[in-house]
Symmetry: C2
Amino acid sequence: MVYDGRMAYTVKRLATLAGVSIRTLHYYDEIGLLKPESVRPNGYREYADESLLKLQQIRFYRELGLSLGQIKAIVTRPDFDALSALESHRQALQGQVERLGRLLRTVDDTILHLKGRKEMDRKQLFEAFSEEQQEQYAKEAEQMYDPEIVRASQKKWKSYTAADKQRIGDEGNAAYQAIVAAIPLGPSSPEAQAGVERWRRHMDSFWTPGLEQLLGLAELYNNDPRFKANFDKVDPRLAEFMRAAVTIYVERKK
Amino acid sequence: MVYDGRMAYTVKRLATLAGVSIRTLHYYDEIGLLKPESVRPNGYREYADESLLKLQQIRFYRELGLSLGQIKAIVTRPDFDALSALESHRQALQGQVERLGRLLRTVDDTILHLKGRKEMDRKQLFEAFSEEQQEQYAKEAEQMYDPEIVRASQKKWKSYTAADKQRIGDEGNAAYQAIVAAIPLGPSSPEAQAGVERWRRHMDSFWTPGLEQLLGLAELYNNDPRFKANFDKVDPRLAEFMRAAVTIYVERKK
DNA sequence: ATAAACCATAACGTAACGTTAATGTCAAGA
DNA sequence: TCTTGACATTAACGTTACGTTATGGTTTAT
């Protein structure tokens, strides 16, 4: 074969030039993405000069992560708006980058955790009950709720050691997480009710509320914006879900 | 059903709690990743309490991008070294982030290009022949090569308009890229030889070299570190490949 | 003439499920 | 008791973008 100014590529040549496999060319032919210019009587495919360019274009878009279907829409219709397609793809890419970034941080955290250098999940909801905030809440709470109870609760809390507080905090978080997990099952599900019971036992660490007071607490979680905000951080549906679950719980207990 | 302290999950419950589909649980059962604690006589699966925890662990690792095979290795063998597994996975993740970052920049460039605000590929190899560098090369080249030719070349180049220079630069780049693309096909391939011919015509823009001078140029590209460096930027194999291809080209022409 | 290199189609395999389809089971209400 | 509806099961095909044989015909170089 001699170079005569115009060239027809065989599969192998085109594949090698573009750095793809022969199977890929077969496949692109099959799905109509890149068809040979002609097929010789012996069945051999003959690709045109422009095929290389088109193929490189295809690989380019593939590199960018587009599916062959999208690419087909782009390269087969010259009037296609490649610009807006790319811009929306850019969005997706950026989302991926951010997602991967988060994953990376999580992996790092996990590694540190495994190395015992760091405790995960220590914070979460329960940090809402940290020392300072306790003090602040207390002042105002006394005016809205039974001062007797509030003071007793404060006193009990302060009597704990740091380790106790840590453990109680963990218990609280575990209870809240159990309840969050039960949200899709509905407030009357056994899981949700078990969560409420767990939460009730947790409350014992502060004071032992009566049934009606449980309802009051659930209300409080919904109405006091600071409680609400903390619950929202865990899950925006949590506060309301707890009200529903606790209501059912109390009714069944009565 | 009443909560009795110990709970067995049905597929639906477990799936809903963990946020996965029933099919997923079936599949995990099938591949032995998460088997139910028991199967009731009617064929219903019964999952144990701990299944939820294990399932969440599985989803966690999935989120991190591990394959189910890897996860199986982690969760079924408690002595597995999850730490090193995660660390190597971290590597992969970081690679992904970098790759996506590059893609993002490319997409941005492409978008700008489509908007006509920027020209891609204008630089590349040919920028080696920019005005200033021309001057510099010229001085030394006169001492190594025929001063007559060098001066003629300079003069011809300077006679071009900016648009001419742009076009010539593009032609040069196209020729070099054609040759790079032909590297996997070997220096004697028609594609490579066609590339050499294209390059030869491109050289006409400076002066018309004889066959022997083509060889000299190919040598120059390999021996002068500054030429070599510029070729290397395009492809580290280019300079040497050109020497081989040009050698063959010249021999055939003689 | 024969081997090496190249061409073709056909068909199965991959990962991790989604999606019917056909059928069986169970608790609750009329 | 019967029916309905929610739930359960297995089986099997569909998805993406090719990789990987298997089998057999064609071209090219020696």
